[in-house]
């Protein structure tokens, strides 16, 4: 039998190990974000605060460019709000499990509730009970510190690096998400949700819609939900409860 302490340590380790591929996948992006801030004349403090308190990927990158271009404050804030608004969905999806937690844990998990942590928290049981929470906090913060660390590498190396924004570094992120999503497609409704969301995200992106990501996701989710209801009704021949 494991003692309580041993079990906690095991969970901390497992959180870090499961997050490791994601921590590695953001190496190029982290370096890119850090170096871009320096190349766009941010002070070291400002460049540090971006990953430390804003702690975002795409939003951080876009904000850095907008600030450097002296864009109006409202434009910067609104753009980041739009890019970040998908997190509302994560909060909603995890609300039942996390709203009952004590303030400190809730705020801590909220702070590190990234795409990556959410991707590791999709199981029905995830984040339920002390040990799974420890796992989530450990995974979430290991991602935070890895993001911060590679931003710092970028900040330090910034002046010596070429402009990295055109290298296609986001491929590493895309392929990590592929590796996370594909194995979860185990039913027709999920397949429908993924296909609709994928096709629509490309169409809306090409049309230059601001809310492309959120709209594509919502329509994809609804398509999956409708498929589930439809197949349930057909198979079980009973209305949804």
């Amino acid at each position: 039998m494991l003692t309580k302490k041993q079990a906690t340590i095991k969970m901390i380790q497992k959180g870090i190990i499961d997050m490791l591929p994601l921590n590695l996948a953001v190496i190029p992006w982290g370096i890119l974000c850090g170096s871009l801030a320096i190349q766009r004349d941010f002070t070291v403090l400002e460049a540090l605060l971006m990953p430390m308190i804003v702690f975002a990927g795409a939003a951080q990158l876009v904000a850095t460019e907008l600030i450097a271009e002296n864009a109006p404050l409202l434009t910067i804030l609104f753009t980041v709000f739009i890019i970040s608004s998908r997190h509302f969905l994560y909060g909603l999806a995890l609300r039942q499990k996390l709203k009952v937690l004590p303030l400190k844990k809730r705020v801590a998990l909220g702070f590190v509730l990234t795409d990556e942590l959410f991707a590791l928290s999709t199981d029905k049981k995830s984040l339920k009970g002390k040990l799974r929470l420890t796992y989530g906090v450990s995974a979430g913060f290991s991602f935070y510190f890895s993001w911060l660390f590679f931003n710092i590498v970028g900040i330090v190396a910034g002046a010596y690096l070429p402009d990295l924004t055109t290298l296609g570094l986001d491929f590493a992120i895309a392929v990590t998400f592929i590796a996370l999503v594909i194995p979860t497609i185990t039913s027709l409704p999920v397949l429908v949700a993924v296909c609709v969301s994928g096709v629509l995200s490309v169409v809306l992106k090409l049309m230059g819609w601001e809310l492309d990501l959120v709209i594509a996701s919502l329509v994809g989710m609804y398509s999956g939900y409708l498929t589930l209801r439809f197949t349930n009704q057909n198979q079980l021949n009973e209305p949804e409860k």
């Binding site: 804030l77 709000f81 999709t122 590493a172 969301s197 995200s201 490309v202 090409l206």
Partner: protein, 103 residues
């Protein structure tokens, strides 16, 4: 000025993540809403990765020999076969880098 902007940005990103975790927020999720939200992870993550592969500088690119498209196709196949994140990311990334390097 930049410092103030950064602090405001932090408030925004934190709010979008934390808001619905707050217990006193008057939001009640019925079973239908929960079922709908169960699709959020695959839908959102897909809406993030698909445009990275197929849209470059505002243009659609579906050429199967494009490094993004070919490597992503390989990633999807390996992921479906192995369900292993390291194999998926490792092999497709290697293909991607090799194509960028040699083409």
């Amino acid at each position: 000025m930049t410092l103030l902007t950064i602090v405001l940005l932090a408030v925004i990103t934190f709010t979008t993540r934390y808001l619905f975790l707050h217990p006193s927020l008057p939001v009640k999720l019925g079973p239908k809403m929960v079922s709908f939200l169960n699709f959020s992870a695959p839908a959102v993550l897909t809406a993030i990765w698909v445009p990275i592969i197929f849209v470059h500088e505002g243009e659609l690119n579906v050429n199967p020999l494009n490094p993004f498209v070919l490597s992503a196709t390989i990633a999807v196949i390996i992921s479906a076969k192995t369900k292993n994140i390291y194999w998926t990311v490792g092999v497709s990334l290697a293909v991607f880098v090799a194509m960028k390097f040699f083409l």
